[in-house]
Amino acid sequence: MEHIRTTKVEQVKLLDRFSTSNKSLTGTLYLTATHLLFIDSHQKETWILHHHIALVEKLALTTSGCPLVIQCKNFRIVHFIVPRERDCHDIYNSLLQLSKQAKYEDLYAFSYNPKQNDSERLHGWQLIDLAEEYKRMGVPNSNWQLSDANREYKICETYPRELYVPRIASKPIIVGSSKFRSKGRFPVLSYYHQNKEAAICRCSQPLSGFSARCLEDEHLLQAISKANPVNRYMYVMDTRPKLNAMANRAAGKGYENEDNYSNIRFQFVGIENIHVMRSSLQKLLEVNGTKGLSVSDFYSGLESSGWLRHIKAVMDAAIFLAKAIMVENASVLVHCSDGWDRTSQVCSLGSLLLDSYYRTIKGFMVLIEKDWISFGHKFSERCGHLDGDPKEVSPVFTQFLECVWHLTEQFPQAFEFNEAFLLQMHEHIHSCQFGNFLGNCQKEREELKLKEKTYSLWPFLLDDQKKYLNPLYSSKSPKSAVLEPNTVSFNFKFWRNMYHQFDRTLHPRQSMFNIIMNMNEQNEQLENDIKDLESKIKQRKSKQTDGILTKELLHSVHPESPTLKTSLCFKEQTLLPVNHALRTIEGSNPADNRYSEYAEEFSKSEPGVVSLEYGVARMTC
């Protein structure tokens, strides 16, 4: 690579910012085409993907060397001390180049090769099928149909090709409405609630200015409300603060005038814009980041960042949306300015509250594919995949993930996936390792030929599904249940495992989940043992006279029988590595202890047999 001048520096120190004792590790730093790699003296590897780097800073030279601070988009902050300034300078320059690419083709996804053949790759891309998803919701039906108006991206470049609209909305109405909406993003279906026959629709702001009207747009809204046979009025949710919406009128944009639209109830919900969110996160990281670890004004710092207040605003909007559908049976149209940030947040979160399918691993992928990827949330700009306008970068999707995390905290049994899944998702919107989140809309993705040149993330997550399962998820709990989160102040907490995920001091919740996971697996194994034994007994009963078979059976219940041996091996395997699989480090290994406790308990009665038994188990493993 032309950007790399130094590929290896020795005697580099890595400081741990969470450790209280200012400990540091010494090791070797390697610079590869895609990653920065640090291997310490214990051979522990720290990999940092270039695309994850948000900021590289070279601090003033100290006696021990030249400090290099790297801030990552996954909130990791690493502090290296490079002995020679020249090396530090080379690495610094290389990272500056490598972390900000100018063209999509230079991103990792285009060189990443997971050793899949073309049909596997294609299969991966077909894993999530939105047409299938709309079918699951119950559309098309007598009120809603698939429109071909945007088949060639002629009406709206940032929408997907396939859009669902009210059956009575004709093409001229759609075209007329799209001309009256910012970026042509006219009202379309986002979620259809089959039982209530109510819909969540989404669009961008109307170009109403101070007095402009558009009959087609008014007709389209009326068509949406008519598509709901139960309730004739519909809500129009403007997710912006009222002041912002009014300011937009001066620019010829604005919001719906209730007098011009029949049967609408207009509502502002006051979520701030991407710039406010960006600087709020910035403050959050300042307060809780480098300097804020030891100070005692942690809580007031957290509050002054405003971050949790913004999270609550998004959550409240989603609750409003879910209530409108569940309680009033009304359809809702959601928009913000362009309808790709706050609108995506509110529509997807609202659907998540309403429909338990989205709380499964597959369903959550579908939800992201639908409300975020296909409807043109500008992932590449918001995540800063390329060296672009820093003012377009904003943690909108991160906020969505955080809202979901808060829901998992309040409803620990409602989600099939765990926190690690959300963290992994966050990792990959920035990693540029897979094609899913590259580009800003479907049209752009097609032009980039992502499906031929890159891989989809979803099959990889599904293959690793076991890592992401929530052990508390209970398929018995009422699946259709609508979540009604409580947004009282003390329910909103700092998401430590996201923003301090590289803090190795503590991860208590996770260890409990690991114990439950292990117990689950052990029980499954036991269940299998029982089945095995039962079938053998049955078998024997049917051929009781056969002496040879009896002998065989005798062998099978022998202590060293295959079933028992596998159980023992299984035991030892699962106890140890599960903790490594997740990115957590624990002060203790509770599962291990439980194991030894039982061993101890047992050894009291039959010490000789036990040690022998374990000897056998280890050898066979």
Binding site: L293, S296, L472, I516, N523, L554
Partner: protein
């Protein structure tokens, strides 16, 4: 109940302020003046001491199949710690509470200190609370010793016996290192105490000791802090400035300081660096917090249900934490400056630890809340009176029921399913603000907006799985028995059923 008044704001009724953060208001019909009778009866029974009535614990005739009073036996507990040994002896010098009326009858002191030495040391320690052993490390033999402040005064008095006594303590573990003294108070407070005859150990007088201040504030500061917590959660939870309001109560900051202090004590002792002497002013509030928390970190025995009961019984009840004054049992003077939530703060610290080490404690959150509920209830004799001598005089163990009877007769309810018994693991909680939380399930449990998930779904799921596992194991055993019983010739089998059973269990 903390106080009852007959003044309603807008309505005719009763306003009741409870000690457990509740505030209840009953609206009554004005006709018939029912309020007065109710008010009178309520105050009579809520504050029996003011009406020369006995506290309810003396009337309570509940029967349990376990006697909680037998849980703590000091001789047994010291024996568990390996005492007496070559360096420490058990003394009955305080048998009739003559040496110190707020200490227990049985004390552990250095072998080399005679009873006369102890009497002379007592004259130099506030309320005669001399340094005595709380806990000894099983391997390195360093100790935690507790006492009250020395009576140094403005003139900087010295006492050769006290100085010698501390040196004897230092030498018990045969280390040359200095004795570490942790004065729980902030430096300024310790200095200010000189004016009233107290003070701290100076470098000049105690060459072989190192003194550190732990900056924990006094009972008045803690009381005000908890009052502020109550203000932000009751009757309404502060919404718009929750986090900064929480911070301005300083409650979590106090928790942090107490935990930090205890961690330092535990670290000193477990690393074998030196023995530790802990005191504050009188050695019954902050000192009890520090020694008991440090012992909880060091000794896994105290993390079991009975072990924790023993810890409370020993470090708090027997060593004279003034429960009667701090809580004001049956007393109507709710503005009494002696009241303070010191024990609550200790339980909060334990809860914070249990959050950070979910597998280390045998008991669950409910256990802690139950203890706190009965701290105020006076249903049991456990927390009545200020010290052992008063309890003995009132024959509390004969005339009342112990809280531990209730708990130990129904232990399953209070068990943490994740508990994994461990020996010799020292727990060091992280006492930084970003790892401490407000104990919502306790402080905000009366708020109608908090939906408590009872039982806790994580615990519940695990209990289900454990039950399932036992069921499976039993089934497997049965099947194996059944299949082996049917074998025609057992002699051909190398392992009979009796040997086979354990194999099933070795899976786990």
């Amino acid at each position: 109940m903390g106080g009852a008044t007959s003044r309603g704001e807008n309505s005719y009724g009763l306003d009741i302020t409870c000690k457990d953060m509740r505030n209840l208001r009953f609206a009554l019909k004005q006709e018939g003046h029912s309020r007065r009778d109710m008010f009178e009866i309520l105050t009579r029974y809520a504050f029996p001491l003011a009406h020369s009535l006995p506290i309810f614990a003396f009337l309570n005739e509940e029967k349990f199949n376990v006697d909680g009073w037998t849980v703590y036996n000091p001789v047994e507990e010291y024996r568990r710690q390996g005492l007496p040994n070559h360096h420490w002896r058990i003394t009955f010098i305080n048998k009739c509470y003559e040496l110190c009326d707020t200490y227990p009858a049985l004390l552990v002191v250095p072998y080399r200190a005679s009873d006369d030495d102890l009497r002379r040391v007592a004259t130099f320690r506030s309320r005669n609370r001399i340094p005595v052993l709380s806990w000894i490390h099983p391997e390195n033999k360093t100790v935690i010793v507790r006492c009250s402040q020395p009576l140094v005064g403005m003139s900087g008095k010295r006492n050769k016996d006290d100085e010698k006594y501390l040196d004897v303590i230092r030498e018990t573990n045969r280390q040359i290192s200095k004795l570490t003294i942790y004065d729980a108070r902030p430096n300024v407070n310790a200095v200010a105490n000189k004016a009233t005859g107290g003070g701290y150990e100076s470098d000049d007088a105690y060459h072989n000791a190192e003194l550190f201040f732990l900056d924990i504030h006094n009972i008045h500061v803690m009381r005000e802090s908890l009052k502020k917590v109550k203000d932000i959660v009751y009757p309404n939870v502060e919404e718009s400035h929750w986090l900064s309001s929480l911070e301005s109560t300083h409650w979590l900051e106090h928790i942090k300081l107490v935990l930090t202090g205890a961690i330092q004590v535990a670290d000193r002792v477990s690393s074998g660096k030196s023995s530790v002497l802990v005191h504050c002013s009188d050695g019954w509030d902050r000192t009890a917090q520090l020694t008991s928390l440090a012992m909880l970190m060091l000794d896994s025995f105290y993390r079991s249900i009975e072990g924790f009961e023993i810890l409370v019984q020993k470090e708090w009840i027997s060593f004279g934490h003034k429960f009667a004054s701090r809580i004001g049992h049956g007393d109507k003077n709710h503005a009494d400056a002696d009241r303070s939530p010191i024990f609550l703060q200790f339980i909060d610290c334990v809860w914070q630890m249990s959050k950070q080490f979910p597998t280390a404690f045998e008991f669950n959150e409910r256990f802690l809340i139950t203890i706190l509920d009965h701290l105020y209830s006076c249903r049991f004799g456990t927390f009545l009176y200020n010290c052992e001598s008063a309890r003995e005089k009132q024959k509390v163990t004969e005339r009342t029921v112990s809280l531990w009877s209730l708990i130990n007769s129904n232990k399953d309810k209070f068990k943490n399913p994740f508990y994994t018994k461990e020996i010799n693991r020292v727990l060091y909680p992280v006492a930084s603000m970003r790892h401490l939380e407000l104990w919502v399930n306790y402080y905000i449990r009366w708020n109608p907006r908090i939906k408590q998930q009872q039982p806790n779904p994580v615990e519940q799921r695990y209990v289900e799985l454990l039950a399932l596992r036992d069921e499976y194991i039993q089934r497997l055993e049965e099947l194996q028995l059944a299949s082996s019983a049917k074998l025609p010739d057992p002699s051909t089998s190398p392992a009979g059923p009796s040997q086979m059973m354990p194999h099933v269990r070795t899976h786990f």
